[in-house]
């Protein structure tokens, strides 16, 4: 009966500390190595790739920014377009699937939800084969528009499923009040549903941004050779090359990660909440 009752139901302190230290090391060290390696010159990487003490240089990062800066901008273009498209398509869908207006409609909702759950499970590499053919037929292969379309379709099912609980949380009293006031369906949607979904839109927007930013399978296959690639696809190509240009590779990895750090700092709490929600609903 010493200090225990004060921390009822809490893990033993020493164990808790040990686990936190191990986790921190396990997750911080890789991040630190990215930065450390990106600060080395080519010669330093060749002679002592594992050195922790060295004179850092910004030359590698500088030259990578010079070469891949355009790719970062292209990534922004593709990712922002896909994110906007997903929100524009996903919010109405989530709204429609959250309403229970008639028994027939409820059955339709169930069927659509099952289709979305299934689509969300199809491994992305397997969709590349048929999508390739479809994009060729529509003359969209090699175009940014085709890539944005493919990315949108990739994350839309998941986004609708994630947005739906937010739409379900809109109290149905509000719809009834709006109908009493003579609001059209469209007005109800634009003035009541969309503002109330702000949190959900921010959460899903952040998750979609993160996913599309890191997407490389479509980007490497659906853009034409020799054209400019998004930064994730550039990273994929660098990885494929047999060389020990670790400093360049890590500088590129750093450049790929930095925009996500910004998104993460803004959206961390929503991400945490949204991910838990998405997994359980």
């Amino acid at each position: 009966m010493s200090s225990r009752p004060l921390r009822v139901g809490a893990p033993p302190r020493s164990l808790s500390l040990a686990v936190k230290i191990v986790l921190t090391l396990l997750y911080v060290i890789p991040l630190l190595w990215i930065i450390l390696e990106a600060l080395k010159s080519g010669a330093q990487t060749l002679t002592a790739p594992n050195a922790i003490v060295f004179s850092p240089t910004l030359a590698t990062i500088g030259s990578v920014i010079g070469e891949a800066g355009g790719s970062v901008l292209l990534s922004f273009e593709v990712t922002a377009s896909a994110t906007v498209a997903v929100i524009l398509l996903g919010v109405p869908a989530a709204y429609a699937l959250s309403r229970r207006t008639s028994r027939r409609w409820n059955r339709t909702v169930s069927a659509v939800l099952i289709i979305l759950l299934f689509l969300q499970m199809v491994p992305q590499p397997m969709t590349v084969i048929p999508l390739y053919g479809v994009l060729v037929r529509w003359h969209l292969l090699g175009s940014i528009g085709g890539l944005v379309l493919a990315d949108t379709a990739l994350v839309l099912p998941f986004s609708v499923l994630l947005l739906r609980p937010f739409a379900l949380a809109v109290p149905s009293v509000l719809f009834e009040a709006a109908a009493l006031d003579g609001a059209t369906g469209r007005q109800t949607f634009a003035r009541i549903v969309v503002p109330l979904l702000r949190n959900g839109i921010a959460t899903v927007g952040a998750i979609v941004f993160i996913t599309v930013w890191g997407e490389f399978i479509y980007a490497t296959n659906f853009l034409s050779q020799g054209s400019r690639y998004p930064v994730s696809a550039l990273l994929a190509q660098q990885i494929g090359k047999y060389s020990a240009d670790w400093n360049t590779l890590m500088a590129l990895a750093l450049l790929t990660s930095l925009p996500l750090l910004v998104i993460f700092l803004f959206a961390q709490r929503r991400l945490t909440a949204g991910l838990t929600l998405g997994a359980v609903r």
Partner: protein
Amino acid sequence: MAAELQSEPLQGLRDTASAGSAVSGRRLRSPAPWRYLIAPGVVIGVISVYPLIKLVQIAFSNVGPTNLIGSWSWVGFANLSAQLHSHVLWAAARVTLELTVMLLVSDLVVGFAVAAVLVERSRTTSAVMSLMTFVWALPPLVSGSVWKFLLASDGPVNGLLGNLGMKPVDWLASPHLALWSVGFVTSWAALPFATLVLRGGMLSVPKDMVEAAAVDGARYWQTQLRIVLPQLRPTMTILAVLAVLYSFQGFNFIFAMTSGGPGTATVNVPFLAYQQAFTTFDLSAGSAIALLAMVVIVLLAIPYTLSVRREEQA
């Protein structure tokens, strides 16, 4: 473009539609919401569902790079049966299974233990959770490539071993170890998500249950295992299904770290399908493998779908 699709082509039909949908007596007349599904439905139908139908068609035909656009000759089950008799596919299935088991153990066992420690709210806890969530948010290619570097034969991990007087280990070049390395990194990348979900579940376990056990003198882990764990069963089930699906998708880390090597030691089923289609350009073989994998996924997805629906109706 999306905005265009969304503008209302059916404004005039609205009244008829709402009158047609039999709204139950108590509710007020509300228009059928189906028109909000038109634009997303068209996009999903055309870019997600239609290609899947094409995939099935390619799996039953003879399609290579030359006749991708053109006529396909129907070959029936020939591709599928060729794949089912191919030991390459079975080797890939085994790799998939092994990766799945590793991921399941990591998500459920390690995830549970980590969440049980991180469930206590404190400043250090939220710092560790933030760090882990950020790593989870990184593109798999970034985390995959840094681990490729860390585990390289002359990389930092072996450098450390050397300083400790140990021999270097072929983490990624040995056929036996490579799969373990890929499994470790995949689990490492998935652990933050599992922890987040399980921790969320733990926080919603009624506090007095836990406190009552503690007052009765139960030790922390006893409480966690006998009282908290049973409460987490639904969360654990969903997490297990997600882990299986995720490991099917575990393509990114293989791509980043080993490209399936050494030899074919780390080729899983999606990677094999991709290789067949885009390295060998045998689109039919790749599609046949993808189709077989999808049948397995559908079977695995049934309990998940049912559990989601049950929750829906509750």
